[in-house]
Amino acid sequence: MSPESQLLGANAVRLGLTAADKTEALNQAGALLVEIGAATEAYADALHERETSVSTYVGEGVAIPHGTNESREYIERAALGYLQFPEGVDWDGETVYVCVAIASKSEEHVDILSALAQVLMDPAKAEQLRTATSADDVLSLLSPEPNQE
């Protein structure tokens, strides 16, 4: 298994979820990171704390919840999770359809986030990310591309 697929595995892709509000969505994101062995409850709590300083909404219906700088010590291993909310979740006035939850101590996840940034720059790909119907779709959209020099 490549390091990338360990970072975001099919078991961390959750489709068709519902959440009444941002707090509930963050609870689910935190619980997912705990469930896959990426972090402890204390890190899950820090997702809420981080949102109170600046929203992690990044555009195109996507938010990237993660902990605070101080909460890094509660990360067990670097991992990401994908949570899809087809009905949308109100996120401080924006509507979020996808959360990409992040637990990372250093640079392990940079390639996947770069892939996410490229997806969000392309409205058609962003739409695919929001409406993915299988874990494979999600994993292939977020697989790091070779560096283009």
């Binding site: 600046v54 990044v58 990237i64 993660h66 940079v110 770069s114």
Partner: protein
């Protein structure tokens, strides 16, 4: 207020609260635009902006903290992570040698 001419910039710092999420994405996009020019683009937590930083990009909600961490740096705030006009302004300043200020 600090100012810097884009032609003097060799390194752009992108700062966010934890240096884990949004700054990584912004740095990635900016790096792809500035790579050809040989500009280094790095991401960092806002409290750990390196000494000697000349140009810092960060979310507007963190701009005051970034400026206090790096009083001599030009801090350019942005409000959205994808497609904010601030990114274009920084790219233009670097590629065309225009002046930026905090």
């Amino acid at each position: 207020m600090p100012t810097v001419n884009g032609s003097e910039v060799t390194k752009v710092i992108v700062a966010c609260d934890a240096g884990m999420g949004s700054s990584v994405m912004v740095a990635s996009n900016l790096r792809s635009k500035l790579r050809a020019k040989g500009i280094d683009v790095v991401h960092t937590p806002v409290n750990e902006i390196p000494e000697g930083a000349k140009l810092v990009l960060c979310h507007q909600g963190l701009a005051a903290r970034a400026q206090s961490t790096a009083p001599n740096a030009v801090v350019v705030p942005f409000s959205i992570f994808i497609g904010d006009p601030a990114f274009t302004r920084v790219e233009d300043a670097i590629l065309q040698g225009k002046t930026l200020e905090s």
